[in-house]
């Protein structure tokens, strides 16, 4: 065990830090609209031009061709420097690209990996369906073969960033007779194909991060199938695996920084009687709790990636980081909102309210999106601990 970096790692880290110091945008990311998309696009392109896009992606498709360790170090540095997150490129960089690297045809890799890294393609996910929710194996959206095309009908829901995306990953049922996991296929779809309609969904914080996407006789070339027809479940699981992958440490470090912000909030505010909030033992204990859990989460994530790097396999800790992160992050945001007291009753009443209240409200998505906490507990119980199915 060691935390200190070796020479190679130290050099990489130094180069990364130097570049980030010069290149991280100095103005805030616009919260919505085309300005937000343009901001994310510019930041992705800047990374590409600097040689930092796709650190561990194959160099033949525009990546830097380095190891997983460097990829992790890069995300870590980005978090330390408060560099912008992937934003609208989250699915493209975190799911679609890595899936294509493992499962895509040469043509698919060639067509998409470069554009993704250059910030030219925004991707959306299309797994959940109305009525299916956490139970992906029960998907009903149909794709029927017709010549060299698949004709798709049905709808997907909880699709992130659908309204600004160019491409979508789609899990559809190509063999209606096969049971549950079998008979699904994984497609990639251009969202400007005729017959596709996107209807945004407003969430409880008033934002529209999700959409329902309707497919009416949409023709998708067979060449857009990733993997083989009927292998969709396996391909989709590859993608889901990546969600718990290399981005983990960066995500955790950003949460640690948010915990620092909450501590600052408590240190700089007074309660109704004029006493510093941090002088309240209950507040201090709550801050100490989230600080300690934050460090524990960081340690768990570090242990997980260490194991991946050392053994080449994603061990059981991988399925534990996500629910721990989701629940801690929800509690941190809630504590931030709680500390605001009545100031938090107007979302735009102060800078602190604008920072903490909407993100607290949105945090309910953390324990539901990418598999509910309940499903993640089932996975740990059955696949990691070997408990029987219910």
């Amino acid at each position: 065990m060691r935390l200190q970096l070796n020479t190679r790692e130290r050099e990489f880290q130094k180069r990364a830090a130097d570049w980030l110091a010069d290149n991280v945008p100095t103005h805030d990311r616009p919260p919505s609209g085309q300005a937000m998309v343009d901001f994310d696009r510019a930041w992705q392109r800047r990374q590409y031009d600097g040689g930092w896009a796709g650190v561990s992606w194959p160099s033949e498709f525009g990546g830097a061709g380095l190891s997983l360790t460097e990829q992790i170090l890069w995300y870590e540095r980005c978090a330390q420097f408060d560099a912008p997150e992937p934003g609208v490129f989250n699915i493209a960089l975190g799911h679609a690209g890595p899936t294509l690297i493992v499962e895509g045809s040469d043509e698919q890799k060639h067509d998409h990996l470069g554009p993704i890294l250059r910030g030219e393609e925004i991707w959306a996910q299309g797994f959940s369906e109305p009525g299916a929710g956490s139970d992906l194996a029960s998907l009903r959206m149909r794709a029927v073969r017709d010549g060299d095309d698949l004709v798709v009908n049905g709808s997907k829901i909880w699709t992130t960033k659908a309204s600004v995306s160019n491409w979508q990953e789609l899990l559809v049922r190509t063999d209606p007779d096969a049971a549950r996991h079998h008979g699904l296929s994984f497609l990639i779809v251009a969202l400007d194909t005729p017959g596709i309609e996107v209807r945004p969904i407003t969430t409880m914080d008033g934002d529209t991060p999700f959409a329902e996407v309707f497919y009416d006789d949409v023709r998708i070339p067979l060449a857009n199938v990733v993997g083989r027809l009927g292998d969709g479940w396996k391909v989709a699981m590859t993608t889901l695996g990546f969600e718990r992958g290399t981005m983990t440490l960066g995500m955790v470090i950003r949460l640690l920084k948010l915990i620092d912000r909450v501590r600052e909030l408590a240190a700089t505010r007074v309660d109704r009687r004029g006493r510093a909030m941090l002088a309240n033992d209950e507040v201090a204990a709550a801050i100490a709790d989230i600080e300690s859990e934050g460090v524990a989460l960081y340690a768990l994530a570090l242990a997980f990636v260490s194991e991946v790097v050392r053994t080449g396999k994603a061990g059981p800790k991988g399925s534990m980081v996500r629910p721990f992160y989701a629940e801690l992050s929800q509690r941190v945001k809630r504590l931030g909102a709680d500390l605001l007291d009545r100031e938090g009753l107007a979302v735009d009443g102060s800078a602190a309210a604008a920072e903490f209240v909407p993100s607290y409200l949105y945090s309910f998505a953390h324990t539901i999106g990418t598999g509910t906490s309940e499903v993640q507990r089932n996975v740990i119980a059955q696949r990691v601990l070997g408990l029987p199915r219910g």
Partner: protein
């Protein structure tokens, strides 16, 4: 010794539910005019006032049944502030003002905190209100001042869509009535009970919403209510909401009967209903999965109501003071 609601109380609750069924517009913090009139006609603002004062001579326990239903509907509308304002006006003997409030002709906004010298105050439900109830719990003072839309300096975005939030200028505010000391203390105790009643309604509505959904929503080939992750949470929600309803009744009757433990029971009811409403509202969203955090679904309204109400009359530190000092 009987905490079982009377037939009159059960009928009253049903009547309130009927009025509220048409009262809550899906988006917007303003109650529909006809529902507001129906509420006033049904006596929601006169119920707890003595008959000699033009009221209906009901008990605080009766009022609590009304406000529990308001909570269960997550209803928008300044019902509580108007009820309290009518009581303040009655206490100082301003029959005309009291009559205006009781009849529903005048609506009351409210704001918290010491307001001396402050010329900008954050006011809830200011739009459309004719009077503003200024609440200073620490110094036990309640003051009614005149309010008009032109006093609004800024409209803010409310966390809770069931209220409006505005910054209001108190520069030339005309004081209509003021009570302090024990008189104000008595009204504030009633306010705590009624807030607790609203919160208990929120807790109950969250339980019903989850139970109904758990029966019909299927995942993995079964209704989700067949999974212990959901069914045990529903059982816990039911315990909390039944206890919340009971503790509100206990507190209200204790105030009505001037029981020696009344103040402590009120603080207990206020605290228990707050934590129950927050917890049930939170769990209810989780039970619904993704649909639960959409704007269209009602689940988030319950959470936001619970948070708004929890920060209102007799907030957590004031509860602690009463409960820990007791003995």
């Amino acid at each position: 010794m009987d905490l079982y609601p009377s037939e009159e109380q059960r009928e009253l609750a049903a009547a309130v539910r009927d009025v509220l069924a048409g009262a809550a517009p899906p988006d917007g913090a303003t109650v529909r005019g006809d529902a507001w009139s129906a509420a006033a006609d049904q006596g929601w603002f006169a119920l707890g006032l003595a008959e000699a004062d033009g009221g209906l001579g009901g008990t605080l326990a009766d009022e609590a049944q009304v406000f529990a239903q308001i909570g269960a509907a997550a209803a928008a509308g300044p019902f509580l502030a108007t009820n309290l304002a009518a009581r303040v006006a009655t206490t100082v003997g301003d029959r005309a003002l009291a009559e205006g409030l009781v009849s529903g002709a005048l609506r009351a906004a409210h704001a918290f905190g010491p307001h001396d010298g402050a010329d900008r105050v954050t006011v809830f439900d200011a739009r459309g209100a004719a009077v503003l109830l200024l609440v200073d719990e620490q110094r036990s003072r309640l003051r009614l001042v005149r309010l008009a839309d032109r006093d609004i300096v800024d409209d803010l975005s409310p966390m809770d869509p069931a209220v409006t939030v505005a910054r209001v200028s108190l520069d030339r505010a005309e004081v209509l009535a003021e009570i302090t000391g024990a008189g104000a203390g008595a009204v504030l105790v009633r306010a705590s009970v009624l807030v607790a009643a609203v919160l208990s309604g929120v807790a109950t509505a969250a339980t019903s919403m989850s139970v109904e959904y758990a029966k019909i929503r299927e995942q993995f080939g079964r209704p989700i209510g067949a999974f212990q992750a959901i069914s045990h949470r529903c059982a816990e929600m039911a315990i909390r909401s039944n206890a919340a309803a009971a503790v509100v009744d206990l507190a209200a009757v204790s105030v009505d009967e001037e029981h020696p433990d009344a103040r402590r029971r009120v603080a207990a009811a206020r605290r228990f209903t707050e934590s129950s409403a927050l917890e049930n509202a939170r769990v209810n969203i989780q039970n619904h999965g993704a649909i639960g955090f959409t704007w269209e679904h009602g689940a988030h309204r319950l959470l936001k109501r619970a948070r708004f109400l929890g920060l209102g009359f007799q907030p957590r530190d004031a509860q602690t003071e009463v409960l820990v000092g007791a003995g």
